[in-house]
Amino acid sequence: MENTDDFEEQAKAPAASPFVIDIDGFEGPIDVLLTLSREQKVDLTQISILQLADQYLAFVSEASRVNLELAADYLVMAAWLAYLKSRLLLPDMGAEDEPSGEEMAAALAFQLQRLEAMQEAGARLLARDRLGVDFFPRGEPEKFAFSGETVYDVTLFDLLKAYGDIKRRKEGGATLHIKPWTLYTVEEALERLHGLLGNTPDWASLSRFLPPGLEDGLKSRSALASTFAASLEMARSGKIRIRQDGVFAPIYVCALRDGKR
């Protein structure tokens, strides 16, 4: 059963993968493209978009190989690059008012240059001498009241935040509403385990008891956690036994009938 391997697969995946793709380190597809384009070690004005498209498509397929959840915008970019690639490789037959492959490639190259320029600008900004770090204001200011004026200590941020608070109260009422979670709960898992174990006289992999039809993502991870928690609960109350033959090895459960198997 395909599911059987999931427990160990998910636990091992990061270590087993030869290169770790840390998607969290990226700020989105364009950022990935920028990082990849640096691998070409050329001026961004000389970048080969065709090569870049290939690098990106390889990145996406590697990510899916190691079972990494890619947000949809990464996949949209992949589809767009595949399209761009075809436009660049095939004779242009696009309509008049549609950008040509070359134009699209040039626009992408520009976008990369512009983002790189802004990343560098941000770094240069932070490298500057900064108030309160490298230079300092008057440490003991003397305050004068000019013609008796009162100084009101309210910032634009305070004002906007106040308005945001009002709107938020209106949207959510005066009380905090916690939206129902779509997570798979321990109660659900308990119910499912109970129902299924009766038909399972022998040792069976715990992963077989995961609810079907789960897509990857938070819900499937919560199902994994909840099912495991439910199995522990049932073991505690003497309904099942649990067995694991080694670290990260599959977990097996077995129903206990009337206290004995």
Binding site: E140, A145, G148
Partner: protein
């Protein structure tokens, strides 16, 4: 006066300027290189400032820059009155800015809480709101709007420059969701910004750009 190390003098000047309390000579000495001649430096600095708008004064054993006493008159050196506004006041101000011209009843309706007369008084006193004429409805209630003084204080050119609700939302100022939701949002960062549509009713808020 012996030739003084100019770097030492600059350093002493900066230290005295930036510290938040008068410093005793011992503390000053600690902040200067060991070979610095503190006494000579202090005396040089004191005489440099003797004629200026700021003096270097010694009070007891501690040194500090102080406004020249003769300028006190012109600076009317009463301590500045700094005033924080309460939450109700800031909210009322925000509503007036966003919804002007707006009546008190409308403000109360938007806030969902009563608005005391004192709140409007504080804003009037600050010079941030002004009457904007009477509404042509029964009772002819007075409407309120913001002033140039308000725009000035908050660095705005017009009340219409205030970010709309969609912008506030994007800026995270309308966000009250629990952490798990935010996590979920990252997980399926697919959808760009459902915010837009959801708040469209708020977008037609009476942001009156003309302000007038």
């Amino acid at each position: 006066m012996s030739k003084l190390n100019k770097q030492h003098l600059r350093l002493l000047e900066a230290v005295l300027f930036a510290t938040d309390a008068p410093l005793p000579e011992k503390a000053l000495a600690n902040r200067l290189p060991e070979d610095a001649d503190l006494k000579a430096l202090l005396s040089a600095l004191k005489s440099h400032y003797a004629e200026r708008g700021v003096h270097l004064d010694k009070a007891g054993k501690a040194w500090a820059f102080r406004t020249a006493p003769d300028l006190g008159q012109q600076l009317s050196m009463a301590p500045e009155v700094k005033r924080k506004l309460g939450r109700a006041t800031v909210e009322t101000l925000a509503i007036i800015a966003y919804h002007q011209p707006v009546t008190r009843a409308e403000i109360e309706d938007i806030r969902g809480v009563g608005v005391s007369k004192g709140t409007l008084d504080v804003l009037l006193e600050a010079g941030w709101i002004r009457p904007r004429g009477r509404r042509k409805t029964p009772g002819r209630p007075m409407t309120w709007g913001v002033t140039d003084g308000f725009l000035d204080h908050f660095g705005l050119e017009s009340a219409g420059d205030l970010p709309g609700v969609a912008d506030l939302k994007a800026a995270g100022l309308l966000d009250s969701r629990a952490a798990i939701d935010i996590h979920r949002e990252y997980a399926d960062a697919a959808e760009p910004e459902e915010a837009e549509e959801e708040t469209s009713d708020l977008l037609d808020d009476p942001l009156d750009p003309g302000g007038g």
